[in-house]
């Protein structure tokens, strides 16, 4: 599957990011498609606690851990170890673990990271032609 990069407000010409539309499923509920950042630098997936609230998950009762940002600052993450489903282009994948955080930067409240999203598909960032090539295993 191919997904174009997304141009977002930044400087005068905007900034291009590898966001793709993802639908999130949990139990009998699901979201609309949500533009989600594909982030090879993230060890695991991180989502805003807004998603947990949508699914009525009591994230404050989850195990807390400190996650580290690139500048070595830390932020709180609530570890969700229950499998849930994401849907990309009609294909459903099971994510085994993710972190919910109330502290993610506003442009990136949904991040799909290495463990275990990158185990489930081959992702090729073709920025030179503004394309993300995603092949599900």
């Amino acid at each position: 599957m191919n997904f174009p990069y997304v141009k977002l407000p930044g400087d005068a010409s905007g900034v291009l990011k590898p966001y793709i539309p993802v639908r999130y499923h949990y139990k009998n509920s699901f979201t609309k498609e949500i533009l989600t950042l594909i982030d090879s630098g993230a060890d695991t997936s991180h989502f805003s606690t807004d998603l947990a609230n949508f699914f009525n998950i009591d994230w404050k009762k989850l195990k807390i851990q400190k996650s580290n940002a690139a500048n070595n600052s830390t932020f709180l993450a609530y570890v969700f170890e229950e499998p849930f489903t994401i849907e990309i282009g009609g294909h459903k994948l099971t994510i085994n673990r993710a972190n919910f955080s109330p502290d993610l930067a506003p442009p990136f409240p949904f991040i799909l990271g290495q463990d275990n999203f990158f185990d489930l598909c081959r992702i090729t960032f073709e920025r030179y032609k503004w394309n993300i090539d995603l092949n599900i295993k």
């Binding site: 977002l8 930044g10 905007g14 609309k32 949500i34 807004d50 949508f54 409240p109 503004w130």
Partner: protein, 63 residues
């Protein structure tokens, strides 16, 4: 070369919360402070959309 999806213009007046953009990415069709709120507003209008986080600036981040 593929053309990127250009949301820079239609998002520039939305600084926080969530927006729903049309499936062709050409217009904002609903807004809300939370995922639940923007979803409800979208459904009230009987429209389909893709949710996008709204922010003042998406540039110069290291994730």
């Amino acid at each position: 070369m593929e053309q990127p999806i250009n949301l820079a213009k239609i998002l520039k007046d939305h600084k926080s919360g969530w927006v729903a953009v049309s499936k062709d990415y050409k217009e904002v069709v609903a807004t809300g402070k939370t995922i639940k709120e923007v979803t409800e507003n979208l459904e009230k209008k009987g429209k389909e959309g893709i949710l996008v986080p709204a922010a003042e600036n998406y540039q110069n981040f290291v994730t």
